[in-house]
């Protein structure tokens, strides 16, 4: 009987995995033994990191949106359906339309979403660049501000040792902001204050979630005149007074609050009953090596939904997707998994508007910070505008 593989989610993780699976299982697809279906709640595919550039007027946004169908190999069935319920005993996912999708193997790749409402006042007074809507709003404010203070805050999930989306993004955007305001000629009249919470994964009282980078950041920020302080865990915002209040009891006034807000898994996952994360955050209990959801032998997950200590970013997904695809292919063919994820994350951080820093790390080794370069920035921008689409299609 034909084996059914169902992928839920049309973001980077779902799209890459669907294409990689189709490539690896082509002989079975040719013999009509395997069927791959991807469902997504949108007919469009969004390249999320592009929003960061929109916030500084360096991109419009439309460049980072494509038809989902156009990114999938023709062997993959694609349906626009919003998944609402999962039944892991009878192996099916139910959509809002009532349609049932049965599976032999399931890949949960529904990512994560901003949850600013979890901090009182943040939705009204704060801004973030993690969505295109939020980035467009920020771009207007960054273009208008002439003097005052821009405060940067970062919130981590309450579940221990899990990062927020794209760990390096607050550092990247702070440095991009410095360059942008300098370009506008208003930097001298605007104070940038970068704050970081007391607890950031394994780091306490630092400026980044990994020790080596945390140690070099003060000198980098000092050289750019960016003020920095640790021990500021945003817990409340007073929208009227424009004051950010920390759990440690400190208050900082701001004109613009560029926040990394709390994140959660999507509603579909949070309501699935599979997660054991704190505060209904919804992260899926994930086997760090096989990338199976713990306790569910035919369900895999990757990307922003997992409860692993690695970055929730495309540079992580790119290394996880082949593990998931290889393991499913191996299970179908031999009945056992064949690959193991080592926690590898590869990315190029945009350290300012025209400087890129290559970085890589895994479960055992932290990022070793290196000087950024113009060439690094070109590679990053080239990836954003072109190579990403090839990677999503499973071509790179």
């Amino acid at each position: 009987m034909k084996k059914k593989i169902l992928i839920v989610g049309g973001g980077t993780a779902g799209t890459m995995t669907a294409n990689n699976l189709a490539k690896k299982l082509m002989p079975e697809i040719d013999r009509d033994e395997v069927e791959i279906t991807l469902i997504s709640d949108s007919k469009y595919h969004y390249y999320k990191p592009g929003a960061m550039y929109v916030a500084f007027g360096k991109s419009e946004g439309y460049e980072f949106v494509r038809d989902q169908r156009a990114l999938l190999m023709s062997e993959i069935n694609f349906e626009v359906e919003k998944a609402t319920q999962i039944n892991t005993k009878s192996n099916f996912v139910k959509a809002q339309s009532g349609k049932k999708f049965e599976y032999d193997f399931l890949v949960l790749a529904t990512g994560c979403e901003v949850a600013p409402d979890r901090i009182p006042g943040l939705s009204e007074a704060g801004d973030w660049f993690y969505t295109y809507e939020g980035a467009t709003k920020l771009a207007k404010k960054f273009h208008d501000i002439k003097r005052g203070r821009i405060l940067v805050t970062v919130n981590f999930p309450k579940t221990p040792n899990i990062p927020h989306q794209c760990g390096i993004a607050p550092v990247e955007t702070t440095m991009m902001l410095h360059d942008f305001l300098t370009e506008r000629g208003v930097r001298d009249d605007i104070e940038i204050v970068y704050t970081y919470p007391t607890v950031a994964q394994a780091v306490t009282n630092g400026l980044f979630m990994q020790e080596p980078t945390s140690n070099v950041l003060p000198s980098i920020f000092d050289s750019l005149g960016i003020k920095h302080q640790s021990g500021f865990t945003l817990s409340k915002v007073d929208p009227k007074k424009k004051v950010a209040i920390s759990a440690e009891g400190e208050e900082i006034e701001f004109d613009i609050l560029m926040s990394t807000p709390p994140f959660t898994a999507t509603k579909f996952i949070r309501e699935s009953g599979i997660s054991e994360a704190l505060d209904d955050e919804g992260w899926l209990p994930t086997d760090k090596q096989t990338l199976k959801v713990k306790g569910l032998d035919n369900v895999y997950t990757l990307g922003d939904t997992v409860d692993l200590p690695v970055s929730k970013a495309g540079g992580t997904v790119h290394n996880q997707t082949d593990v998931v695809a290889d393991n499913i292919a191996s299970e179908l063919r031999h009945g056992y998994t064949s690959e193991s994820y080592d926690g590898l994350v590869i990315a190029i951080a945009q350290m300012g508007l025209s400087c890129g820093m290559p970085l890589w790390y895994n479960y055992d080794k932290d990022v070793a910070p290196t000087p950024c370069s113009k060439l690094g920035s070109f590679v990053r921008k080239g990836f954003n505008k072109g190579i990403y689409w090839a990677a999503a299609r499973g071509m790179v």
Partner: protein, 117 residues
């Protein structure tokens, strides 16, 4: 008055020095330094808009390759599965929506080429 200074070198450094000496003696070093300068100049002379335009062209080629690759694979699979169609069979194939979509794309593609000739 000059003093004799003794510098201790590792075996690897000595090997590297020998190789560099050969490059200098044969005059090849000049070309290599010119090449490094050329690479460096090219990085300096490249701008963000140039990178975006270049990568846009690469993306267009990759997209065309992706569409073609998918279509060829599909056509090959269908041709293997089915017998060579009769004339009536070909007409029946024309009744399929995807066939007509592809055919009209090809005709528009021809028109697009014609416009440039």
């Amino acid at each position: 008055m000059s003093e004799k200074v003794e510098v201790l070198k590792t075996k690897e450094m000595q090997e590297l020095e020998a190789k560099m000496t050969m490059l200098i003696q044969t005059g090849r070093i000049d070309n290599l330094i010119d090449l490094m300068a050329l690479v460096s100049d090219n990085i300096e002379m490249t701008t963000s808009p140039m990178v975006e335009k270049m990568i846009g062209t690469v993306d267009n080629l990759a997209t065309a390759g992706f569409i073609t690759e998918n279509a060829v694979r599909y056509a090959k699979r269908e041709s293997t599965k089915n017998e060579v169609p009769s004339l009536f069979g070909i007409l029946k194939l024309m009744g399929d929506k995807d066939t007509r979509k592809g055919l009209s794309f090809m005709l528009n593609l021809t028109k697009g080429i014609g416009k440039q000739l």
